[in-house]
């Protein structure tokens, strides 16, 4: 089986797949639908008939928070096979990115969702006849999640020593728009590699992040009977996909 790879500028096609622009050996996350909904929206119907991977960001003034963030009052989304349900506690907009990929990236059929003139089918499927995103590695008509390696990195912050010991810091991206982003708990208190926001101990402890059009903020709020100053390291990725 042939393989199509596109290296990033300055890289080579033998780079790790994570650093390639395109690689036909791997399924790409493909954004099927983007929606900005106001605060009155309690659901959105996508009619895909399966559970798609969904990313949600909630607006609060100039700040945009990922779902389940305690600094956005735990605004969240959840879904059945045809609808995304929204609990918006910020009183402002929510931006949804609905991927054509199923939550487990399983192959499926029956949908006419594959769009674009360049299509690469998954192994065992025929790009000429398949029509469902779930049977493709890549479809040129569907937006991809594009990482800005230069703007991404790690950040360390130190909490204070109150009863709720808290800390917040920021980096400047200066993109002029609010970018999609993700953060993992990289080192420090847990360092377990989970995705932020992290909420545990009955909401008493939270790690969080949010974005504006110029900055990305990172914070912790930890309850402790024995206050200690602690250090947290988060690894963040900024994507060139526009939230607002």
């Amino acid at each position: 089986m042939g393989r199509i790879r596109v290296a990033k500028s300055g890289g080579t096609i033998d780079d790790n797949p994570k650093d390639l622009v395109l690689d036909s050996n791997n399924t790409h996350l493909m954004i099927y639908d983007e929606q900005t909904l106001n605060s009155s929206a309690t659901s959105y119907t996508h009619n895909l008939g399966y559970y798609p991977l969904v990313f949600a960001y909630f607006q609060d003034g100039s700040n945009w928070h990922p779902d389940n963030s305690f600094v956005a009052a735990y605004s969240r989304v959840y879904q059945d096979t045809n609808n995304v349900y929204i609990e918006n506690n910020t009183g402002s907009n929510v931006k949804l990115f609905i991927c054509g990929n199923a939550v487990d990236n399983a192959s499926g059929s029956g949908k006419n969702t594959a769009i674009g003139k360049i299509k690469i089918a998954k192994s065992g499927f025929d790009a000429d006849t398949e029509t469902d995103i779930r049977r493709f590695q890549f479809c040129s008509g569907l937006d991809l999640v594009k990482r800005d390696s230069a703007l991404s990195g790690t950040v360390t912050l130190t909490s204070d020593s109150g009863l709720f010991y808290e800390g917040e810091t920021f980096i400047t991206h200066d993109l002029g728009y609010v970018p999609m982003a993700s953060v993992i708990d990289y080192a420090g208190f847990t360092g377990l590699g989970g995705e932020l926001p992290l909420n545990f101990a009955d909401g008493l402890n939270s790690y969080y992040f949010y974005m504006t059009s110029t900055r990305m903020y990172f914070g912790v709020s930890i309850f402790s009977k024995d206050p200690v100053i602690d250090t947290y390291t988060f690894k963040y990725q900024i994507y060139r996909n526009k939230i607002a």
Binding site: Y51, P66, Q237
Partner: protein, 129 residues
């Protein structure tokens, strides 16, 4: 330097510096799936925690997208940890990664499993650190 660019539909400027206008652009790696699947985590009767290790073999701590079929029957994407409430019981769903495994856990803060409880999770492990 060679260029590789695909514009989003309704976009026309192939030289645009607004990268969000592109499906793909030679300057920006994209998110790709390394591993995927469905996993069942069991909390056995009388216990408070269950977990499963899913090997990925990437050699680095990857980003993952993990979702749970929650106790209300809906699918919800997990951030690193979210909490659930069910009557007087409450607990958490969480996951973490290292260079070898994705570990998915579910547990009770208050209460315990009255009988064996199975929880369904869906996971996508990305080629992204």
């Amino acid at each position: 330097m060679a260029k590789f660019r695909i514009l989003r539909s309704n976009e026309t400027d192939i030289e645009s510096t607004d990268i969000w206008r592109f499906v793909a652009h030679e300057g920006y790696p994209t998110q790709k799936v390394a591993e995927q699947g469905q996993a069942t985590v069991t909390i056995t009767s009388g216990n408070t925690v269950g977990f499963v290790d899913i090997p990925h073999g990437l050699g680095y701590q990857p980003q993952c997208r993990v979702s749970v079929l929650n106790r209300s029957g809906y699918v919800e994407r997990l951030c690193g940890a979210i909490e659930w409430v069910d009557g007087a019981d409450f607990g958490y769903y969480t996951y973490g990664t290292d260079g070898t495994n994705l570990t998915i856990s579910v547990g009770y803060y208050v209460g315990s499993a009255p009988a064996d409880e199975d929880y369904t999770f869906y996971y996508i492990i990305l080629h992204e650190s």
